[in-house]
C-alpha cells in the first residue's frame, strides 16, 4: 500500500501524466469533436473514421481514457499533498529555529563589525529574534514553503468542481420568437420571450442583444421576470439564462378556401404540419432579409429590406418542392394557401444550473495563490553569531540560491560585512 502511495505521488508519474494529458489535448484539438461517422469517413477515410470512433476521439474530452488520465492526476496530486504534508510541516518548523541556519547549510556568509539588524532589514527580514545563547536570527517568506502544496490543492478543487458540475449540471436550450412561450423540458418551467431588442451602433453593427423574459412555474403558479443580454445573464428560479444567439423567424398563416385555418410563429429550421392535414408539412430552411442584395445573406443581424422566405413542402415524408416566397406572395397547395410575413429575430437562450461553479472558481483562486506563494515568496533565513568583536552572519534561501547569494552579499557589503565564503545549496523551486 505504501509502495502504491509512493508511486502515485512520485514526480516521474506526475510528469508522465502531464505529458500524456498535454499530448491528448493537443491531438484531440485537431479532430473535429462530436461529428458522425460519415463526417470522419469523408474527411479521413473509412478506416481512420472507424479508429476515431473506436478510440472515442470524436468526444475525446469525455472519453474513458481522458477521464482516466484526469482521475490519475487527481490521485497523484492528492497522494503528493498527503505524503508531503508531515515533511513540509517539519521543514517549516526547522527553518524557523535558530539553529536551522548554520555554516554548513548556508547559501552565503559574511563577517564583520556591522549591524546584523540592518542586514536582516535589507534582506526583508525585519522581525529579529534572539536565542538563549545570544544568537540573532530571522526568517522571511516562510509561506513560500506552502506554494506548491496550495497550488496542488487548488488544481484538485478545480478538477473536482468541474467533474461535479459536469455530472450534476442541468442545461437546456430554448429558442423563441418574441411573444412565444416554450417549455424547459424536465424542469417543468416555461419561458416566455416578452421582447427582443437589438441595439445597433450608427454604423449598423450590433452592440447588444437584450431579451425580456418571463419564466413561469405552472405547478406553483408563480413567475419571475428578468432581462438577459450578452455578457449579462438573467438569474431566474436558480437558472442562469444566457443570451446565446439570434436567428430569423416569421409568422406563417394558412388559409383554407380563403378562411384562416392556423397562424403561428416559425423559426428558421422548424417544420409545421397543416392542422387538418398533418401529412402535409411546411419546412422553413432559410430567410433572406435582403434578397435583392448580392451576395444573398441570411445573417440575423442584417436589417430587413427585401425579405424572401425559402420553403420546402413535404407530403407523407416525400418532398413535393421548394421555392422562394417574397413579401406578399402566396403558396397554394390544393385548397390551402400559405403566407409568410412579419419577419423578425428569435432569441436562442442557453439555460444552465451548475451549483459547483463556485468550487471551480475557488480552485482557480487557490491555484493562483499557490503560484504566487511558490514563485514570489522565497523562504529565507539568516542568523548572526557573535565571535569576539565580530559578527559571523549566515544566510540561507530555500529557492533561487544563486540570486539570493548575490542579494545577501550585496546587502552584507552595504551594512559593514565582508563576504568570507560563498556556497550554494540545492534549491527546491516547485
Amino acid at each position: 500500500m505504501k509502495k502504491i502511495g509512493k508511486f502515485l505521488s512520485s514526480m516521474p508519474f506526475a510528469i508522465t501524466l502531464l505529458v500524456l494529458l498535454a499530448a491528448a489535448c493537443a491531438f484531440s484539438s485537431t479532430v473535429s469533436q462530436g461529428q458522425a461517422y460519415e463526417y470522419y469517413a469523408a474527411q479521413y477515410g473509412e478506416r481512420t473514421a472507424g479508429l476515431i470512433l473506436a478510440l472515442h476521439l470524436d468526444d475525446a474530452f469525455h472519453s474513458w481514457w481522458f477521464i482516466g488520465l484526469s482521475v490519475f492526476l487527481c490521485l497523484n496530486l492528492l497522494c503528493c499533498n498527503l505524503i508531503r504534508l508531515p515533511g513540509l510541516l517539519k521543514r517549516v518548523r526547522t527553518f524557523a529555529k535558530p539553529d536551522g541556519t548554520t555554516a554548513s547549510n548556508a547559501t552565503a556568509e559574511a563577517e564583520g563589525t556591522g549591524d546584523p539588524h540592518r542586514l536582516f532589514a535589507a534582506l526583508h527580514m525585519p522581525s529579529v529574534r534572539e536565542s538563549e545563547n545570544g544568537q540573532l536570527y530571522a526568517t522571511g517568506n516562510r509561506a513560500g514553503f506552502w506554494g506548491a502544496w496550495v497550488c496542488h490543492l487548488g488544481i484538485l478543487l478545480l478538477i473536482l468542481g468541474f467533474a461535479l458540475g459536469q455530472i450534476t449540471m442541468k442545461q437546456y436550450t430554448v429558442y423563441a420568437l418574441p411573444g412565444q412561450t416554450k417549455g424547459m423540458d424536465d424542469s417543468g418551467l416555461q419561458v416566455t420571450v416578452d421582447d427582443l431588442q437589438i441595439l445597433r451602433a450608427e454604423s449598423g453593427a450590433v452592440q447588444q442583444y437584450t431579451a425580456e423574459l418571463t419564466v413561469l412555474d405552472p405547478v406553483n403558479h408563480t413567475e419571475e421576470k428578468g432581462t438577459t443580454g450578452v455578457n449579462a445573464p438573467a438569474n431566474l428560479y436558480g437558472y442562469k439564462f444566457f443570451q446565446n444567439s439570434v436567428g430569423w423567424g416569421a409568422d406563417v398563416r394558412v388559409l383554407k378556401n380563403g378562411q384562416e385555418l392556423q397562424k403561428e410563429g416559425l423559426c428558421v429550421g422548424e417544420f409545421f404540419a397543416i392542422s387538418d392535414k398533418p401529412e402535409l408539412v411546411i419546412y422553413f430552411p432559410a430567410f433572406y432579409p435582403d434578397y435583392s442584395g448580392e451576395p444573398k445573406q441570411s445573417d440575423p443581424s442584417l436589417p430587413v429590406k427585401d425579405p424572401a422566405y425559402l420553403y420546402q413542402v413535404y407530403y407523407q415524408g416525400q418532398i413535393l418542392g421548394m421555392n422562394i416566397l417574397k413579401a406578399g406572395e402566396e403558396l397554394t397547395i390544393d385548397e390551402y394557401t400559405v403566407l409568410f410575413d412579419n419577419p423578425r429575430n428569435y432569441t436562442l437562450l442557453a439555460v444552465k444550473r451548475d451549483v459547483f461553479t463556485w468550487l471551480v472558481l475557488l480552485g482557480g483562486l487557490v491555484t493562483l495563490a499557490g503560484l504566487v506563494m511558490a514563485f514570489w515568496l522565497q523562504p529565507r533565513a539568516a542568523c548572526a553569531v557573535k565571535e569576539g568583536e565580530n559578527w559571523h552572519v549566515f544566510g540561507r534561501c530555500q529557492k533561487g540560491g544563486v540570486l539570493f547569494r548575490e542579494e545577501f552579499l550585496k546587502a552584507a557589503a552595504e551594512t559593514g560585512f565582508t563576504p568570507c565564503k560563498s556556497s550554494d545549496i540545492e534549491g527546491d523551486d516547485a
Binding site: 484539438s29 472558481l361 493562483l368 527546491d428
Partner: protein, 272 residues
Amino acid sequence: MMLQAENTLFTIVVIGYFILTALNFAFVILKKDALAKVAFGIQTGIFLLHTAALVLRGIGAGHWPMTNQYEFATSFAWALCLVSLVFIRKYRFPVLGAFSSPLILLMIGYAAMQSREVKELMPSLRSSWLAFHVSTAIIAYGSFGVAFVLSLIFLFRGRIKGEGFWGQHIPQPEKLDMISYRSVCLGMLFLTLTILTGAIWAEQAWGSYWSWDPKETWSLVTWIIYAIYLHLRIRRGWRGKAAAWFAVIGFICVIFTYIGVNTFLPGIHSYA
C-alpha cells in the same frame, strides 16, 4: 485623427525596432559595451513610443486595443519589449537585448502584415473582462518570449569555452537558469490569470466557463508544458539543459496557441 497618428507612430516604432536590432548586432559583433547602453536607451524610447501608439489606437478605436490579430500582435511585441527591458535592468544583462530584439522585430513585423482596419466589436467582446483577459495574456506571452530567449542563451552558453566576450557578458549557467525560471514564473502566473479571467468571462458570455474550444485547449496545453518545466527543474539531472528545451517547446506552444490555432483550428476565439 487618432488612428492616423497611431499609424505614423507604429511606422516609427517598426523602424525603431529595426534600428534596435541592428544596434544590438553591432554590440555583439564589435564587442563594445557602449553600444549596449545606447541600445538600452533606444529600447526604452521605442517602448514609450509604442505605449503611446497603443494608447492612441485604443482611443481611436474606442475599445481596449487587443481585439484582433494586428492589435494583439503589436501588444505582444510591446509586452516582449517591456519584459526584456525589466530583465535587462534587473539582472544587468545587456546581451539579453541582443537576443530578444530580433524576436520583438519578428512580432512587430507580423503585426505590420495584419489588417489595421478598426471594426466594431461583436457583443460578446463588449465586456470589462476583455481588458483583464487579454492584458494578462500579453504579459504572459511576453514573459514566455523572454524565457524562450533566455533558454536559447542558456543552450548557447553551454558551448562557450573560457572567458571571452560571451563568457563575460552571459551569466553563469546556474544564474541564467534561475533568471529563465523567474521569467517562466511570471508567465505562468499571468497565463493562469488569463485562463481564469477567460473562464469567468466565458461563463458570463456563453454560459460555459470551459468548452474545450481549440484556443482554450491550447492554452491548457501551454500551461501543462510549463508545469512540466517547473517540475523538471527540481529533478536532479533534468535541471538546466532539459528544462531549457522545455521552455523552448513551451514558447512554440504559445506561438501555436496565438497564430496556429486561429489559422488551423478555428473555434469561438476565431476573432482573436
